[in-house]
Amino acid sequence: MKAIVSFVAVLLLVAIGYMGGSAGSTSRFLFGVVAPYSAFAIFVVFMIVRILKWASSPVPFRIPTTAGQQKTLPWIKDSKIENPSSVFGVVIRMALEVLVFRSLFRNLKTQLHEGGRLAYGEAKWLWMAGLAFHYSFAIILFRHLRFFLEKVPYPIQLVESLDSFLQIGAPLLYLTDVALLGAVTYLFIRRVALPQVKYISLIADYFPLFLIFAIGATGVLMRYFTKTDIVGVKTLAMGLISFNPAVPETIGAMFYTHVFLLSVLFAYFPFSKLVHMGGVFMSPTRNMANTSREKRHINPWNYPVHVHTYEEYENDFRDKMKEAGLPVEKE
């Protein structure tokens, strides 16, 4: 049901984008210029606002999740990355987390067998699909810079040629196009096929999947099937980037659909779970060194509290203490 709602919502967006791209030049300006500009502005500004909002709350306690041996006696080998005691260790831990999804790599499948025996099996599919999805998306975004840079720099050319190295068809098939759509499909199927994951899923979990699938699909359609005036596309893109927007007549409605869906994604981003992109860097269980015993961590809102002092305690128990032969401060 939640999946259907999201699906219909994305279909609706596709329809809006397509109609917008098919209508007159005012509409094309709206969908080709106004929408991407405002979406991008919302994305950048509100992503920064979100990060500042997180940053406006302090980290009162040093709470790294220690996933390895602490630094202690010199002859015990400490786990410098999983339980970092230095900034360097934290940086590596974070890099592994962000670049190769270290924690997700640990994933296990817990199974209850006949006779009440629990077994823990490998479960790397989510990790693999996650990596495939994020890296394809990143590479695709990077590749798209060819539309936004007047002289396409070498690294982008290199990534493009690597991405299409199988030289299938013309225009050459990008492997990341296949990987992205495949990974998104897997992530969706997983969400509906695994009962537990289905049970926890919200509309907000299906929506980005459908949306990103639709963005990928319109892109693929445009590149390999329906075709568009790609020179016109770059002219539009360069117009946007140089703040001289112009809408060529020759770009088809599919392009506007693609751009509109992307605009929706960008505008939706800072208000959704997708903010994990920035949030992962600020996660206190991952970005702190386990040094709370070595160096005092300061809580900015630490305040004095009511305590039961020794004096009060002795007053309560002085006689009993004396009787038990315990020393007292006041006779």
Partner: protein, 143 residues
């Protein structure tokens, strides 16, 4: 609003903004040049003269713009695999010789001003010339 861990937070924001705004910064508001492929080679001009002033390709200009890469792929397969060099145009129903060097490039003898103009603009690298010999282009004569 007090911000905690300023160093970490502002470097995060800076990196994010730098990546997000990178293309804008590179372009710096300059208007980018548009590609302008030239179809004014002597061969094309002569063809036009012979055909009542009409420039004409195997298919319509608009269709060619989107599909030429696929057409060339089909031609290659047809020639190499089936030994078939005859192509009947869907636009003018004439028979054309399927050939890159003796067909396309005969008229479009200006690879640099024609093919490369858009390909470079969009960073497209067709692998035609991995096998075919690039046509020698006449040096442009300054008018």
């Amino acid at each position: 609003m007090k911000i905690y861990n300023k160093g970490l937070v502002f470097s995060l924001i800076l990196v994010f903004a730098a990546i997000a705004l990178f293309p804008f910064l590179v372009q710096g508001g300059r208007v980018a040049a548009k590609p302008d492929p030239k179809t004014d080679t002597p061969e094309i001009m002569q063809y036009a003269q012979e055909h009542g002033g009409k420039k004409e390709c195997v298919e319509s200009k608009e269709w060619m713009r989107g599909e030429h890469m696929q057409l060339l792929n089909q031609w290659r397969d047809s020639v190499v695999r089936d030994d078939n060099r005859g192509y009947i145009s869907n636009t003018n129903h004439q028979r054309w010789n399927m050939s890159l060097q003796n067909g396309c490039m005969k008229c479009h003898s200006n690879k640099k001003k024609f093919c490369d103009e858009c390909h470079n603009y969009l960073s497209v690298k067709p692998y035609c010339w991995d096998c075919h010999i690039q046509p020698a282009e006449k040096e442009e004569v300054k008018s």
